[in-house]
């Protein structure tokens, strides 16, 4: 059977949906967009683009288990950095399908995410690379790597939200 081709508009809709779930703090629903072996990574800002988290210090290098624990934690009132919850707005743009084969494609996009808490708005700018797979239940994310276009986490100080 011929695999159904990915189209940019389909991918864009999917990424906008991901962004909306994050902005609405529907994190368990957001997590359900990820495969059971998914990865989520945010490299430190001084690392080369292809750096591996196995021998470099990242900000975040979650496997599927830790990602689910991240969500579980963020839903608790004891995740003090995010409770009371910050307001966020995830903007996604410049979406391109880099390559695809069969039921899997690699997508690059640009993002700007605003986080407002206690009267301060911080901005996270960067590019994302998603690996997206098509399954019986629709599109799922097998990996997401957010590379910040920043020299450091200053003044943001933390990536306590999901980018």
């Amino acid at each position: 059977m011929q695999a159904q081709a990915f189209t940019r508009s389909e991918i864009e809709d999917f990424l906008y949906h991901e962004a909306a779930l994050l902005d609405d703090w529907q994190l368990p629903e957001w997590l359900a967009l990820y495969t059971a072996d998914a990865r989520y990574e945010v490299p430190s800002t001084d690392l080369p683009k292809d750096a591996s988290p196995e021998n470099n210090l990242f900000y975040i290098a979650d496997d599927a288990f830790r990602l689910s624990e991240r969500v579980k934690r963020l839903m608790k009132k004891t995740a003090f950095a995010e409770y009371p919850r910050s307001k966020t707005r995830h903007l996604v743009s410049n979406v391109r399908i880099l390559d695809s084969s069969g039921d899997r494609c690699r997508v690059s996009s640009a993002f700007v995410t605003y986080r407002t808490k206690s009267g301060v708005t911080d901005t996270y700018i960067g590019s994302s690379e998603h690996t997206i797979v098509r399954g019986d239940a629709g599109l799922r994310i097998a990996s997401k790597r957010c590379t910040l276009d920043l020299d450091s986490l200053r003044p943001q100080g933390r990536v306590s939200i999901i980018l």
Binding site: V42, P43, S44, T45, D46, L47, A51, P53, E54, N55, N56, L57, F58, Y59, I60, A61, F65, R66, E69, R70, K72, R73, K76, T78, A79, F80, A81, E82, S118, V120, D151, S152, L153, R154, P155, Q156, G157, R158, V159, S160
Partner: protein, 424 residues
């Protein structure tokens, strides 16, 4: 300098076992100005680690206490710390973060310096007098002092400061406990966590060596360990706090997390068990049972006065920071690891690190929040003016969740600021 004696006065009552710190110390711009000189111009400050400069010509650029520096190993193998400013007209000479260079060329007028800082050439040399640089005044300016202890390089802006080993004093024992963890040496892992906190730098000093806040601030991290199959070792948060003198302090304790240097957890499986037994066996051979067990099983949060933290916990972090304003600080943090550890160990170590530490971890963001909320709380200081760090006062041996470490810091801080204030 303004008279700040009233603002900085500690309230210490040894009969009542009370130790209080005026909140103005975290807020006042006069105190901030005073400590920039009395503390940061007259203490040894961490610059970098020997493992960052393994090759001739290798360099990193770095900011320490507001100064931009080049930290390099010159082509002859000597380690240097240069002020990263052209002796000609002041432009930043090296604008790369890191790399390898035989020479540094200032792009403004093209002066070229060797990796030892010596002026090698300048365009239009014929227009300068004979012997223009005979006294070295056109070479890169060195940081006034640069010394090393066990791979940790420190600089000082005070030419007359005591030597580093004397300054470190009793803290050397604790640096040794980290430096000795590998025969092959310890190394900084690639990747720097650089972040800022909207709070006073002394709040991060306190927080970094605070055993008292773990079970509350980090409840969600401890939940995570408890909820993760095999992630807990059957040991509690138990240990001691120590004042090491000269403002240095440490807490040393057992903790329930895995330590890739010696505390196995079931989640690491049989391979992990074999690896850790081999590591601990090696330590025992080199240092004997008692010291090996201490290195393997005990956690240590170490403060080197004023602004270096070496925390040997579920991973090792080296963290230094500097204030930009009373309510703003910049942090640089690295992971330190045995240079020869196995792929498995390195991976487990970095996973451990990221679970707890750093701006994306399950714990540090909550610390950042706590520090910022303290800073916000100090806006009430006219009516609510004092911090209390009395916990464990009067005990023969304070525990890891007492506050002797903070008192050690504040006594040294206060003595230095007071001396500067009296001499003004």
């Amino acid at each position: 300098m303004k008279d700040i004696s009233k603002v900085i006065k500690l309230h210490v009552d040894n009969t009542q076992n009370l130790f209080k710190v005026p909140r103005a110390s975290f807020v006042s711009t006069d105190v901030f100005d005073a400590e920039r000189d009395a503390i940061f111009n007259h203490c040894w400050l961490y610059l970098g680690h020997a493992s960052e400069l393994t090759k001739p010509g290798q360099f990193v650029t770095r900011t320490v206490a507001g100064r931009n520096l080049i930290f390099n190993r010159d082509v002859d193998g000597q380690v240097n710390a240069f002020m990263n400013t052209c002796p000609h007209r002041g432009a930043t000479v090296c604008r790369d973060r890191a790399g390898t260079a035989k020479n540094f060329q200032c792009f403004y007028h093209g002066w070229v310096f060797g990796s030892d800082g010596t002026l090698k050439s300048q365009p239009g040399k014929e227009s300068y007098c004979e012997g223009f640089n005979d006294h070295g005044g056109a070479n890169l300016v060195r940081a006034p002092r640069l010394e090393e202890y066990r791979g940790f390089y420190f600089i000082a802006f005070d030419q007359d400061i005591v030597d580093l080993a004397t300054y470190l004093g009793n803290a050397r024992e604790y640096i040794d406990l980290v430096a000795d963890q590998s025969k092959a040496g310890m190394g900084i892992v690639g990747g720097t966590q650089e972040y800022s906190i909207r709070a006073n730098w002394k709040l991060l000093v306190e927080n970094s060596i605070d055993g008292y806040h773990a079970s509350t601030t980090h409840a969600s991290y401890l939940d995570y360990l408890k909820g993760t199959a095999g992630s807990l070792a059957a040991v509690g948060l138990v240990g001691v706090g120590r004042d090491l003198g000269n403002g240095h302090a440490v807490i040393e304790y057992t903790g329930p997390w895995g330590r890739p240097i010696g505390q196995w957890i079931p989640a690491w499986g049989e391979q992990g068990k074999v690896d850790i037994e081999r590591i601990v066996g090696g330590l025992t051979q080199r240092f004997g049972e008692e010291r090996a067990q201490r290195m393997a099983l005990k956690n240590r949060n170490l403060l080197i006065f004023p602004n270096l933290i070496i925390n040997d916990i579920m991973a090792i972090t080296v963290r230094t920071f500097y204030p930009l304003a009373p309510n703003q600080l910049h942090v640089n943090a690295w992971a330190l690891a045995p240079a020869d550890e196995s792929e498995w160990s390195r991976k487990s170590r970095l996973e451990n690190f990221l679970e707890f530490l750093g701006p994306g971890g399950f714990a540090t963001p909550d610390d950042v929040e706590a520090l910022q909320q303290c800073q916000t709380g100090y806006e009430n200081m006219r009516e609510a003016g004092w911090n209390d760090i009395s916990k464990g006062m009067g005990k023969a041996q304070p525990a890891m969740d007492d506050e002797i470490q903070m008192r050690a810091f504040w006594i040294e801080w206060n003595a230095r600021i007071e001396q500067a204030n009296n001499a003004r």
